[in-house]
Symmetry: C2
Subunit: 456 residues, 2 copies
């Protein structure tokens, strides 16, 4: 066992303690009451990076939450890695569903439970601990490193782009590395070469100008909640296909080669569906579950509300109904192109007697890269070394909106090497990160820096 691997093995427990310290800070970026906590978390991470020997460590103010920048540029002639991660987290609510408090990290059965354990503090700390190991064992990193750890990923990375644009020259690098994705199972590493995009909308339907008594007026005017149900129901057909005209025009069909790759990906569909608690799998006809969640677009209601929602019965004919409806997109779909089509279609579906507003809340373009790129090959070697088996090549269903920003501002190859598991409950109650993922991930990252040095 080489000295690097030995160091990683010997300091496992302290690595977890270091991560716990970061998890205790409730850096919820969307909740104003946590504004100071977010800043405190940025400072904590900056301090930690400095203690590892990173140079030019900054907590960079933005018009929103600050980001952390740190670099180490001592590997002359070697490639430069731009590491991206985020230290902000999703809200922890509903708190009553957590078995242990979200900001008191707790170990149970080899898993660390806390908000942000997996998404994304745990995965940022894999990098920090890999850096530590190289620094302690060799006094240096095998590559040059520029780390950007932002505090607004969970609220749309609003101020990242201006930072990237402003520092474009200083951020010059050879490859981007992001650890914010998943692996198919606890023993199966993965390299991600695709992400879905998103178009997130809100449909608002107004019928009468104010709530009416459903006895006195029921039958005489269109009910906006009934109307909204009709509209949403019409957005998908019984084959699970989205009915928005032109929606599939730019969808890249899955090639036979890729379909074969999906077929051989170690993915336990039965286990995956069982983990959701749903009775059966259901999705677009003609595709497997793995294809449906990674290489096919979809449409989901994320939220919906109208009228009286308290206990018992209130005989109201509501004035207003709304639904948040988002579409996951695949290459080469573009949210900017699809929104006007969606809006026009939804308005066309509206029955008489209601007025409609359709809002574009949020968009991200899909991402797809070539898994045989030399940088990707380096990542595949690193993962194979760390886990003693080759990584699965996967596409992910979620979006990392910042990928589009990177593409636009820096245009670099990108390694998405993440270690989350599907049952990690990111964004939900009882988020966790398996220690096997954390330690295997740290080892993978440490090797990745070595492999990238070789490929450069």
């Amino acid at each position: 066992m080489d000295a690097l691997t030995q160091y990683l093995d010997q300091h496992r427990e302290r690595f977890v303690d270091d991560l716990k310290a970061a998890l205790r800070i409730p850096s919820v970026s969307t909740q104003p009451e946590h504004r100071d906590d977010v800043r405190r978390c940025a400072e904590h991470i900056a301090g930690h990076a400095k203690s590892l020997g990173m140079t030019r460590v900054e907590v960079v103010p933005t018009d929103g939450h600050p980001l952390v920048y740190a670099e180490w540029m001592g590997a002359t002639g070697k490639p430069t890695v731009l590491l991206y991660g985020h230290y902000d987290v999703q809200p922890a609510e509903p708190l009553e569903l957590w078995a242990t408090p979200p900001f008191e990290p707790t170990l149970r059965d080899g898993k660390l439970y806390a908000r942000g354990a997996c998404d994304d503090k745990g995965q940022v700390y894999m990098h920090l601990k890999a850096i530590e190991a190289h620094m302690k064992v060799n006094g240096r990193l095998p590559v040059n490193l520029k780390a950007v750890i932002e505090g607004e990923e969970e609220v749309g990375s609003e101020h990242l782009e201006s930072f990237l644009r402003a520092r474009r020259a200083e951020l010059r690098a050879d490859v981007i590395v992001v650890s914010d994705t998943t692996m198919p199972g606890p023993d199966q590493p993965a390299l991600c070469y695709g992400l879905r995009g998103i178009l997130y909308t809100q449909i608002e339907v107004t019928g009468p100008a104010h709530d009416l008594h459903s006895g006195e007026f029921g039958g005489a005017v269109m009910n906006p909640a009934n109307a909204l149900c009709g509209i949403v129901a019409a957005l998908k057909d019984s084959d699970g296909r989205i009915t928005v005209p032109g929606f599939y025009d730019r969808v890249r069909e899955i090639s036979p080669e890729e379909r074969e790759r999906f077929r051989t990906t170690p993915f336990d569909e039965v286990d995956f569906i069982r983990g959701t608690g749903a009775a059966v799998a259901w999705g677009e006809r003609g595709y497997t579950t793995l294809e449906r969640i990674s290489a096919r677009p979809t449409l989901d209601v994320n939220g919906m509300w109208s009228g009286y929602t308290g206990p018992g019965s209130k005989t109201v004919l509501p004035s207003f109904a709304a639904a948040k409806v988002s579409m996951r997109l695949v290459p080469d779909q573009d949210p900017a192109d699809l929104f006007p089509r969606f809006e026009a279609y939804v308005k066309r579906l509206a029955p008489p007697g209601v007025s409609m507003v359709v809002r574009d809340l949020h968009g991200a373009v899909p991402y797809l890269t070539e898994p045989d790129h030399p940088m990707m090959q380096a990542a595949r070697r690193a993962l194979a070394r760390a886990w003693t088996k080759p990584p699965a090549l996967i596409r992910e269903g979620g979006s990392i909106p910042v990928m589009a920003t990177f593409k636009e501002t820096l245009d670099l190859p990108c390694i998405l090497m993440g270690f989350g598991l599907h049952d990690d409950q990111v964004h939900g109650p009882n988020e966790k990160f398996s220690l096997s993922s954390f330690h295997g991930g740290t080892r993978s990252v440490a090797y990745l820096y070595e492999e990238l040095a070789r490929s450069g």
Copy 2:
């Protein structure tokens, strides 16, 4: 002008003040925090009835909110009227939509704004003030009177039936009088001879066992909110007809004679629809608006909720979605007969991958009587005297669930003589009662007692 009419004219302002005192008590029966207010309101009304010379005044405890009982039995040989009304009110929320606070009654443009102004405290006070006038002018009432003013009408009159059954013998009467209905316009009195029934349900759809990340899982499992929309959308066809099998089997079609009566009812459809703020009328094909709201069944979503309903976007695939769905019924539909059909149909509409619960929250049978009954003739004479024009004979779209209870326990003819207007916003923000309704109604009731004495 006779002495009675003179008294009614001279005391108008104080009558309004007396009503205001009752409106200041927030007797919201469905909200536990108002429990003491409800009792306080019962005591206030009992005290007022006593001060008018009513005898045997009681605040009768029930397993829920108390009811007020009062009588005057000094008209030997004359008919006995059982007066029914309610002093409880709907919740006032959303408070921010009220121009003036709901429990600070405010006069504007000849209208009194407050929760309960029309439904039903204002109409209860018409009776109390008519009683006052008879007592002050004649020292007696022309009929015997037994008044039951309950505190649970807005929550289903749960404990009224046991009271009626327990006191069945004591409550013996010749006619029931209820003032909780509407008139077609401010100058057009009406006598109501029909009410719709109701079946109020809640549809609950569960998909995954917990909320999921819509990127990671979107496309793989049935979304319960999408499923709910599909179910609700399928409950009505494009002609506005309800698709539940057998739903129309027991619907009494409108006879040519009644259709003619509807046609000649003074009802301004344009004004009625304009008052709702809806762009156009919409309802069951083949029927007029007046028919749709009174003599035809209908189905409305009263409330609906699922997933994330806060500002902005949250990428959640919700575990749960629910809708409150109620159907207004007409003779001879029966909620007890329809609920199992509705439940079976809704469950049949459910797509794979979700589990369903359909709850029966509340039911009331429809009501229809003969407008030429001698007691109804007395009411028609009273209204014609008070308003100097004959009353419209109408059917109402709402339900007074207690009518079924009266029918079952006492089986008496019933006079529904109400003075609400369609824009009174009962159950909504800015509920009001026009002073013209209040004073005209008080006069009508005073005359009704005289006319019933003549008809008995």
